[in-house]
């Protein structure tokens, strides 16, 4: 540990998340991890981290944060009102947080889950290979005002801020499924009807599951009532006793007795997690070979994002405080004419090439 993160204020569902703890199904432990895993990969790309870092997940409402050692940080997932000592910050970007500065994150403007990741990393002891909280399962807890978390060290705070294109997964869409162990229990007509149905996201939605609403008849399965409880995986579209679909999410149960229509591919779960109340959703069914062919390793996922995370450049005309940059340079370098000239030279060359590093 080489620093502390202080949480001054926290929304109602703020927790530490990483990619979860796969491999403990036999103990009844769901993989868990970030509801929107893609946001963690985006943060790693922005911070030039070699692998995904643990992050602070914030559902709906963020919090207020300070550190006692400098670290770069990234803001990903659902955009929130973000300020650093009162100055607005861009979302899907990385920034630098210095001791004494207050990072304030408000409500989401789109989507559901916002993520705050630190280049210094959160220096927590893993349990079953992960630091992720699965608060509803009795693993870890939610974070609250007054909590402090140990930070590691940001190896290079001078690395330039980066930005990714604005994420586009906050308004619902099509969920691609693959067949699961119980798809065959639904008669083909029921399955067809489910695939032709326009669903909306219900108010019942959390880290465990998202309920889908629709007009029309429920989707029953044969012999559902006395089916043996069986393994469930994240993304399973479960039909409860009343035939209403729930898509099971990160902290889902590991076993259940209600039949499942199919399994939503992991790549489409971030969009579902981020779908706001009332968002339109559809189900599509891929065959097994097509679904397997879409599998992507975490390494490939991160590499693809890394190539998109550009060094952040700003048009100098957009920089309100440009004058203060020069003023500060004048103050600090005023005792050394050469250094001042060098600095001006550097500024000029950047200006001549158009946009300015910020």
């Amino acid at each position: 540990m080489s620093g502390l993160l202080h949480i001054k204020r926290a929304g109602p569902a703020v927790s530490v998340q990483d990619l979860g703890r796969p491999g403990y199904m036999g103990q009844g432990v769901a993989t868990g991890g970030a509801a929107d895993r893609l946001a963690l990969f985006e943060a790693a790309a922005l911070l030039e981290a070699p692998a995904v870092l643990p992050a602070i997940e914030m559902a709906g409402m963020g919090g207020s944060f300070t550190v006692d050692a400098p670290t770069r940080f990234a803001l990903t997932g659902a955009p929130m009102r973000a300020t650093l000592d009162g100055e607005p910050l861009g979302w899907n970007e990385s920034h630098l947080l210095q001791p004494g500065e207050v990072l304030d994150l408000g409500g989401v403007s789109e989507g559901v889950y916002g993520y705050l990741s630190f280049a210094a990393g959160l220096d927590l002891t893993p349990w079953l290979g992960s630091v992720a909280s699965q608060a509803s399962l009795g693993i870890g807890k939610l974070l609250a005002a007054g909590d402090t978390l140990p930070l590691g060290t940001d190896s290079d705070t001078s690395l330039p801020p980066r930005r990714l294109p604005k994420a586009d997964r906050f308004k619902g869409g099509a969920l691609r499924m693959m067949p699961g162990p119980q798809t065959g229990l639904f008669d083909p007509a029921t399955l067809e009807r489910a695939l032709a149905t326009s669903f909306t996201r219900d108010a019942a939605a959390n880290r465990q599951g998202v309920r889908l609403n629709h007009d029309g008849a429920p989707f029953p399965a044969d012999d559902a009532a006395s089916l043996a409880s069986d393994f469930i995986t994240q993304g399973d579209v479960q039909m409860t006793g009343d035939g209403v679909p729930y898509v099971l999410m990160a902290d889902c149960q590991t076993m259940g007795g209600y039949p499942r229509l199919g399994t939503v591919l992991p790549d489409d779960l971030p969009m579902l997690a981020q779908a706001p109340l009332g968002a339109k959703l559809r189900l599509e069914m891929l065959d097994l070979a097509a679904a397997d062919a879409l599998w992507q390793s975490d390494k490939a996922r991160l590499a693809a994002l890394r190539s998109k995370a550009e060094v952040k450049i700003r048009d100098p005309r957009d920089i309100r405080d440009l004058l203060s940059y020069q003023l500060i340079s004048g103050v600090t370098a005023g005792d050394d004419l050469d250094r001042d000239l060098d600095y001006q030279g550097a500024m000029d060359s950047r200006l001549s090439s158009g946009p300015l590093l910020s």
């Binding site: 796969p22 491999g23 403990y24 199904m25 036999g26 103990q27 009844g28 432990v29 349990w127 509803s136 399962l137 009795g138 693993i139 870890g140 693959m178 067949p179 699961g180 162990p181 012999d223 009532a225 006395s226 089916l227 043996a228 409880s229 069986d230 393994f231 995986t233 994240q234 993304g235 409860t240 006793g241 009343d242 149960q253 590991t254 076993m255 259940g256 007795g257 209600y258 399994t263 591919l265 992991p266 097994l288 679904a291 397997d292 879409l294 599998w295 390793s297």
Partner: protein, 255 residues
């Protein structure tokens, strides 16, 4: 339909099915309905797959009627995995008997009232009297058929034929941690407050999972378990000063 002991190995009437469970797992299902025989086949198959020690297999976990095999698709593809496990499949399905338990848990429980709000409803739907439910719940030597739903949470069975009652159509919004609920000749002992389609008939202070306890997970698949009725007052006393979450439970080691 399910059978009590004495067991007979699972007959080939239901050939095991190999099914997908997401992009990185497959599920081998030995039966659709739960039985000791299907559970025994699961345990035998789990051991057989672990013995194969296949590169790229990440986790092999048994349920009541199936085994999930999680793999890393970057080093092992589904077809190769299916080919590798097929030779051990039919042997597990036909040879296996559930091994005798090595441990027996004695769990104090409070039945009915605030601690079993659906006891009378369960009596109504099953046609059993409340007295008979309490008697059979305590006389049955339950086995931990599988751990799942929530961390460390046991599926217990099998209760006598009269307990063959389907899950509720509508979910109970919340049962508390420690709730003992029943359906399909089984019981579940909830580790956390949950939404469920099973009917709560009793409650216990025994917590099969506590993350901060020296031994977070207490139960293992195959353990025997006996429910032992205590009065509501005794139950409340057992829950006081019980940081370990044992609720007065005792573990008997069988030799």
């Amino acid at each position: 339909m399910t059978q009590d002991t004495p067991q007979s190995p699972l007959r080939a009437a239901h050939a095991p099915e190999v099914l997908p469970l997401g992009q990185d797992s497959l599920l081998v299902r030995f039966a659709r309905a739960a039985s000791f025989e299907a559970t025994a086949a699961c345990l035998a198959f789990q051991r057989a797959v672990e013995t194969l020690a296949l590169t790229g297999v990440r986790d092999v976990a048994p349920s009541l009627t199936s085994v999930s095999v999680q793999f890393d698709p970057s080093v092992l593809d589904r077809a190769t995995l299916v080919a590798a496990i097929t030779p051990v499949l039919s042997k597990a399905a036909t040879d296996a008997l559930l091994p005798a338990p090595t441990r027996r848990w004695h769990i104090p429980v409070a039945f009915g009232g605030d601690f079993g709000p659906q006891l009378s409803e369960f009596a109504e739907v099953s046609g059993l009297s409340e007295a008979q439910i309490l008697k059979e719940a305590q006389e049955t030597e339950l086995r931990v058929l599988a751990i799942g739903f929530a961390p460390g949470q046991p599926y217990l069975g099998y209760l006598p034929e009269g307990w063959q009652v389907p899950r509720q159509r509508n979910l109970t919004p919340r049962v508390p941690a420690g709730a003992i609920a029943t359906a399909v000749r089984q019981m579940v002992l909830f580790t956390n407050a949950s939404t469920t389609g099973w009917r709560q008939i009793a409650e216990t202070g025994f917590r099969p999972f506590v993350q901060d306890r020296a031994e977070p997970f207490l139960l293992r698949q195959g353990d025997a378990l006996r429910l032992e009725q205590v009065s509501h007052d005794t139950y409340r006393d057992l829950k006081r000063n019980d940081a370990e979450g044992l609720g007065g439970a005792k573990c008997e080691v069988l030799t």
